[in-house]
């Protein structure tokens, strides 16, 4: 009896160790960036010298900065207007896209999920395929359409296509499918109109699914690279995702600091939305 208990406990311990190892692996980069932002250039050059200067040896890392300094943060917050300018662009784009998805994608997912719309299976398949196609495929054609609409070189060229992204429709759809039909039937019998049903039943019950789609889209917005590169030309319109400071000797700490600050909003949003994320993804995927 005791041996079985011990085996069980040993197994559990092993499990915890393995998981801890992986957890470290996944959290380490964040930690690295945070520490790096606090390091002065001298210290960084010492550690990362071989990497930057291409000399012999390897880059090393110390767990905590020996001489923490806020110089990088200061430089970033007070001396780099372009960084925040691009940040603002990213926020504008994100806001626009999320708003658009709420307005258009949400009803579309609802309509697709709950109503016998003709050809919905085909449309559903189309959504999936469109969602998976890499950007290069439609790049030129999308450019031509945007050009025809006169939207090029403005933030709208990024916002509008994003607002109609089929990915969110897919996520929200699967979740809406999971709502029991009985609820809606009951409401209909009580005389509620379809629109009312949508607002009173669909939205609240689907809240976590909607939020999860929005959170995922938010994260995606901070990583967008291909679209801004092609559709935007004016430098002042570029979003943060394109701000890749070169890792040079003088700018190392600054580069790390920038990366760290750049990923704070996604991580924060993610932190807030995590529970909805889980609920949304999982509940939506399980068939009742």
């Amino acid at each position: 009896m005791r041996s079985m208990n011990m085996a069980k406990r040993a197994g559990k311990l092993l499990a915890v160790l393995v998981l801890a190892a992986f957890a470290v692996l996944t959290v380490a980069p964040l930690f690295f960036l945070a520490c790096g932002s606090l390091m002065g250039n001298g210290e960084l050059n010492e550690y990362l010298g071989p990497f930057v200067l291409r000399t012999d040896g390897f880059a090393v890392w110390r767990l905590f900065p020996l001489y923490p300094t806020f110089r990088n943060a200061v430089r970033l917050f007070f001396d780099s207007p372009e960084f925040f300018h691009m940040f603002w662009n990213t926020m504008a784009i994100t806001g626009g896209i999320l708003g658009g998805q709420f307005l258009f994608g949400l009803p579309a997912a609802w309509g697709l999920a709950r109503y016998p719309v003709p050809g919905r299976k085909v449309f559903y398949m189309l959504c999936i395929v469109l969602m998976m196609l890499p950007f290069q495929v439609t790049m030129l054609s999308e450019y031509l359409v945007l050009d025809r609409l006169g939207l090029l070189d403005s933030l709208w060229s990024i916002i509008l296509p994003g607002a109609f992204s089929t990915f969110s429709v897919f996520v929200m759809y699967r979740f809406f499918c999971g709502i029991p039909e009985d609820f809606l039937e009951a409401a209909r019998i009580d005389g509620a109109g379809e629109l009312r049903i949508f607002f009173v039943i669909g939205l609240p019950l689907g809240a976590s699914g909607i939020l999860s789609a929005l959170v995922l889209q938010f994260l995606e917005c901070f990583s967008m690279i291909e679209q801004p590169l092609v559709f935007l030309q004016t430098k002042s319109l570029l979003p943060l995702s394109l701000y890749l400071p070169e890792v040079r000797a003088e700018r190392m700490g600054f580069a790390l600091c920038c990366s760290f600050v750049a990923l704070l909003p996604p991580v924060l949003v993610f932190g807030m939305g995590q529970q909805y994320l889980e609920q949304g993804i999982t509940a939506g995927a399980i068939k009742e």
Partner: protein, 301 residues
């Protein structure tokens, strides 16, 4: 009135109302769908339609040339290499990710609630890191003079030129798994949690062992979840191009030369006809794959 007559009247009334209801519901559904559909049509369907059209005409001049572009694309060695690499990548990392995440999910499942949440948060973190930061990290880790080689040196192993040899493929797979692990684990966990305890209890009474339980009960019941996981993982596997491009440029090491690199380069060359044909082929393959998955795993639409 006698009860039977009342019922009869109610039935016909219900049937007629039901008929109307269906039509009204269809209309309502369409209304909900319309604005979103319009946008999707303008920004996705029309461009894709244009791509299909371009795959049948010449790059400039627009002369119709039938299946010429497709023939050229099939015979193009760069395309063959890119397709092979992309397929290899998907076939390697998708199962790898699924297995890995399943194993870890099983481990996490056995933990207490608090630890569970901590683990989930930690694993989900990489998903939130934007591509630009990932590239910075990647560079620092996998460069010839980077961290990983430093660690290897400590262990006495010779440094590997990660980005310039076949090892680049491993780096790509690693990056993909690192990023998507948490996401997938969470999905598995939910799937595992969705199977009611009662089913397990019944099986145990029948004498089924844990492994049999798992394979014969858990997995089949999670089929819809697996469908979602596979679709989303496939989607994310295409996103790996971003990091590869930012680190290695247009002509990376041979083993990580993907279809998107090729399309990108074709575009730089103005070979839009080849690009269109290749894209249509890719879309067909993806469509076919998803259709098969749907047929075999989805119970209903």
């Amino acid at each position: 009135m006698s009860p039977s007559r009342k019922r009869r009247v109610k039935k016909t009334a219900v049937r007629r109302a039901g008929f109307h209801r269906n039509g009204r519901r269809k209309a309502a559904g369409l209304l909900f769908l319309l604005p979103g559909f319009a946008g999707i049509a303008v920004f996705y369907l029309i461009p894709f339609g244009d791509v299909v059209r371009r795959s049948f005409v010449q790059a400039s001049g627009g002369r119709f040339c039938g299946a010429d572009n497709y023939r050229t694309v099939f015979g193009n060695t760069a395309f063959q290499l890119a397709a092979k690499n992309t397929a290899r990548f998907v076939l390697v990392c998708l199962p790898l990710l699924l297995l890995f995440s399943l194993l870890l999910a099983l481990l996490v499942n056995g933990l207490g609630n608090k630890l569970k949440t901590v683990c989930k948060s930690a694993f989900l973190l990489p998903m939130a890191i934007p591509a630009a930061s990932v590239v910075l990290l990647w560079r620092l880790m996998f460069d010839l003079h980077g961290f990983v080689n430093g660690l290897l040196a400590l262990a006495g192993i010779a440094p590997v030129d990660w980005m310039n040899t076949g090892a680049a493929f491993a780096v790509l797979v690693f990056s993909y798994i690192w990023k998507n692990l948490g996401y997938t684990i969470v999905l598995w966990l939910a799937g595992l949690a969705s199977v009611p305890e009662s089913v397990y209890e019944a099986a145990q009474i029948d004498g089924a062992g844990r492994a049999a339980c798992f394979f014969k009960i858990t997995l089949p019941l999670m089929k819809p979840m697996i469908f979602t996981i596979v679709v989303l993982s496939l989607l994310n596997s295409f996103k790996v191009f971003r990091e590869a491009y930012l680190v290695s440029g247009n002509y990376p090491q041979e083993d990580i030369y993907l279809l998107q690199h090729l399309f990108n380069n074709w575009f730089l060359d103005l070979s839009v006809d080849k690009m269109a044909a290749g894209s249509v082929l890719l879309a067909l393959v993806i469509g076919g794959f998803v259709w098969i998955l749907q047929r075999s795993w989805e119970e209903e639409g």
